[in-house]
Amino acid sequence: MSEYIFKILLFTFWSLPVFGQVDKFAPTSIRVGGEAASFGYSLFKDDFKSWEVEGDVDFYRYFLVFDWGYNSFFQASDQITYGYFNYKSSGRYFRVGPDINFIRNERTKNVLALGLRYGQSNFKESADYSTYNAVENETTWPEDTLSYSEGNITGRWMEMNASLKARIFKNLYLGLTIRYKILPGGSKEGTFQTYYLPGFGKIINKNNWGLSYYISYRFPFREKKRHYFIKEEKK
């Protein structure tokens, strides 16, 4: 994990080679927010719970972004053709990585960015299912119940992100992040393949699309020198 984080930090700061520009890259604010879409959706669902907080720090046109959240996914299905099937997965996750902002507006601090994320989830999952469901009733063996339960599982993935954050009022921002998630290998060792990885979503393929919708607030703690004012004074 430390190797991933090191590479991401290296990517973030690869363009800071000049010591004289340190002031230019000094952070000026922290933006903290919450994910609204999944959280809102989970308020109306008994089988899905989700919350996520997001924070970023600016370094000139670069941001270091950190997300931390929780997902719980439960499905009890008695509608399937054969037997029955219950599944539950829940756990916490984080993402960390850099963004590069392509908008340079000192007044609004709006963001249109591309970025990378390393994601990691620690979760538990369990399943109960009928053997009739597992082999579609194509057996002469009597129906039996199979159970699977495992805790403290770790899943890792990478993301390529496109983000938009727009100021709507003073320091309040609305943000949209489109994620392309890539699962590098199997989610874990073992005979039962993970179906829902918190933070990543359903593992139907090795990659997955996601979308987050943020409401965030920017806390400025340092005003950057505005060079055009200095030029005016010289005149």
Binding site: Y84, Y129, V135, T140, W141, L176, Q193, Y195, K202, I204
Partner: protein
């Protein structure tokens, strides 16, 4: 106005992504180990006229002497265990007018089970992989396909 457009585009994308979340409800896995019977000289495929297959805890799988001959028989592996024992009696057609009976044949199959959730609507599918015949009373056996697939024609050849 900008904010309205932002909200509209955002929620449209969100709805669009959920709309694309369609899962395929098809399993290619099955638990029937398909066995073909050969003469010990490996030249002749036996056509089976009848079979009685028994496994402890299982419903016997019996095909009485039938007019339609077959050469491949699926032995259902225990979906709740990593191994299955079968005892079976076999009636094969030697030529057009002669049959031969083989009684008290047996084999012990060991395998690895892997489960995957297809979707919450379809449930879980179980794969039977790495099949090995660890004990038997045939002359010899050959594993053709150790991972059982629904559309496989054959998994094991038995010579006796």
């Amino acid at each position: 106005m900008k904010i309205r457009i932002f909200l509209l585009v955002g929620f449209s994308c969100f709805a669009g992504l959920f709309a694309c979340d369609v899962e395929d409800c098809i399993s290619t896995k099955t638990g029937g180990l398909k066995v073909e019977f050969y003469s010990s000289d490996r030249d002749t495929v036996y056509l089976v006229r009848g079979i009685s297959a028994f496994s402890e805890g299982n419903e016997p799988k019996i095909i009485e002497e039938s007019d339609s001959l077959f050469s491949i028989f699926p032995f259902d592996l225990d979906p709740a265990s990593d191994s299955t024992n079968y005892n079976f009696n076999l009636i094969v057609e030697v030529n057009d007018s002669t049959t031969a009976s083989y009684d008290s044949l047996y084999f012990h199959a060991h395998y690895r089970r892997n489960q995957r959730v297809i979707s919450v609507e379809c449930g879980v599918e179980q794969a039977f992989n790495n099949v090995e015949i660890t004990d038997h009373n045939f002359d010899s056996i050959k594993i053709v396909h150790p991972n059982i697939e629904r559309f496989d024609t054959l998994n094991v050849r038995v010579y006796f």
